[in-house]
């Protein structure tokens, strides 16, 4: 059943400083509210347990995409539409743009944010695989200061992550080291728009003299968190991407993921699709 609206509070701070002070002064009382595309769905379903929210949508400090020689930095409020229309991201981080274009429909892309996608912490979210494959770092801010941490490791379990109640996710930073990489992103779902992934696969790789110099392989919807498959990456290093290597990599991948049966798919299907996508990715690196 729908929630009783008068029970909820959505307060609008004038600045980031004001938002952080509110978060600090009443620990745990306030939670951020960005584009609302996850929170409003819970509200409608009567499953939004928390009552008090800070409307961060208008905070310009959390918006914008900036580039330096070494990094591209995105505000946490960057929408999927903004991702897709940024020329640097299109050129250097095509998997993030593809993820954005396959997230919901246009109305969702105009409102949903990268920060919300990260902190909502769904293992089926579609941007995190791309962000992890691009070695993203994230910045958390509070009145105590700012800290940057690798996105890899931020999520520790289902909906568990290293963020304190007084912190906001402020920015996401991508190192501009993608020159010469092959980018491979596949979202497998029932329909192109609006569908939640059954499996989401993002990987980059590079070969030299026929051997795999570097791969970064990430799979979503196959474990309680999105998984960067570091053991599989290690097993691939220095190998030729031939049939034998692919078989060994698939065997390693199976040990790193733990898909389950749910309403969208089965463990068996997810496992097979993840292996197929890994094999297909490695085959594209063969030439």
């Amino acid at each position: 059943m729908r929630a009783f609206i008068p029970n909820y509070q959505l307060t609008t701070p004038a600045s980031l400083a004001e938002a952080l002070t509110l978060l600090e002064s009443e620990p745990g009382v306030w939670k951020p509210f960005a584009g609302g595309t996850d929170l409003m769905v819970l509200l409608e379903a009567g499953r939004l347990a928390h009552r008090n929210y800070i409307n961060i949508w208008g905070l310009n400090e959390l918006r914008g995409i900036e580039a330096t020689d070494t990094h591209v930095t995105l505000g946490a409020l960057t929408t999927y539409t903004e991702v897709q229309t940024n020329p640097i991201l299109r050129r250097e981080f095509p998997m993030l743009c593809q993820a954005a274009s396959e997230t919901g429909g246009l109305a969702i892309q105009n409102r949903g944010t990268l920060g919300g996608n990260i902190v909502n912490a769904s293992p089926a979210a579609d941007s995190p695989p791309a962000l992890l494959a691009y070695d993203a770092e994230i910045e958390l801010v509070s009145n105590r200061g700012s800290r940057w941490l690798p996105y890899q490791g931020f999520h520790t379990g289902y909906k568990q992550m290293h963020i304190d109640p007084d912190e906001l996710l402020a920015r996401i930073r991508l190192p501009r080291n993608t020159a010469g990489l092959t980018h491979y992103y596949r979202k497998v779902g029932t329909r192109k728009a609006q569908a939640i992934s059954k499996v989401c696969f993002a990987a980059v790789g590079k070969t030299g003299q026929g051997k795999l110099m570097e791969t970064r392989i990430v799979v979503g919807s196959v474990a309680p968190i999105v998984v960067r498959c570091v053991q599989t990456e290690a097993a691939l290093r220095g190998q030729r991407p031939d049939e034998e290597t692919i078989a060994a990599a698939c065997a390693s991948l199976v040990r790193e993921i733990s898909p389950i049966d749910d309403i969208r798919s089965t463990a068996k299907y997810r496992l097979q699709v993840a292996k197929n996508l890994l094999a297909d990715f490695l085959a594209t690196l063969r030439t």
Partner: protein, 155 residues
Amino acid sequence: MNNRHTVEFKVNGEARSLEVFSMARLLDVLREQLQLTGTKEGCGEGECGACTVIIDGQIVNSCLVPMAQVNGCEITTIEGVAGGDQLHAVQQAFIDHGGAQCGICTPGMVLAAVDLLNRNPEPTEHDIRNGLAGNLCRCTGYMKIFESVVRAYKK
């Protein structure tokens, strides 16, 4: 606790100031307080697009927008698409080419199409499918809708 706030915004060019709950859905305020019932509710969870409106030049699902986020915004609903008695080319095309049957999806479809043509005056079929991907229709089978959009700009 008093969770009612004054929110000021423009709807179809007209300035409005309303006392509302901060978490009230824009969809409900449009329909129930402003009697702009052209905006429809299908799913209430962002899936169907029946509640589509344009906020500051972008389509959104009004079922997912709380009133606190509407302050200072300009909103166009289906009631604001026609210029007086003159229907928008998209509306006329939907009438002429069978783009509407039961009509529940139509306001959202029309707004999504108007927005698409504003951004991209000569969309390909792929662009049209993408632009309308968030709008579901249970009647037409979509082909008449796509055709209506094409006719609207080829006119």
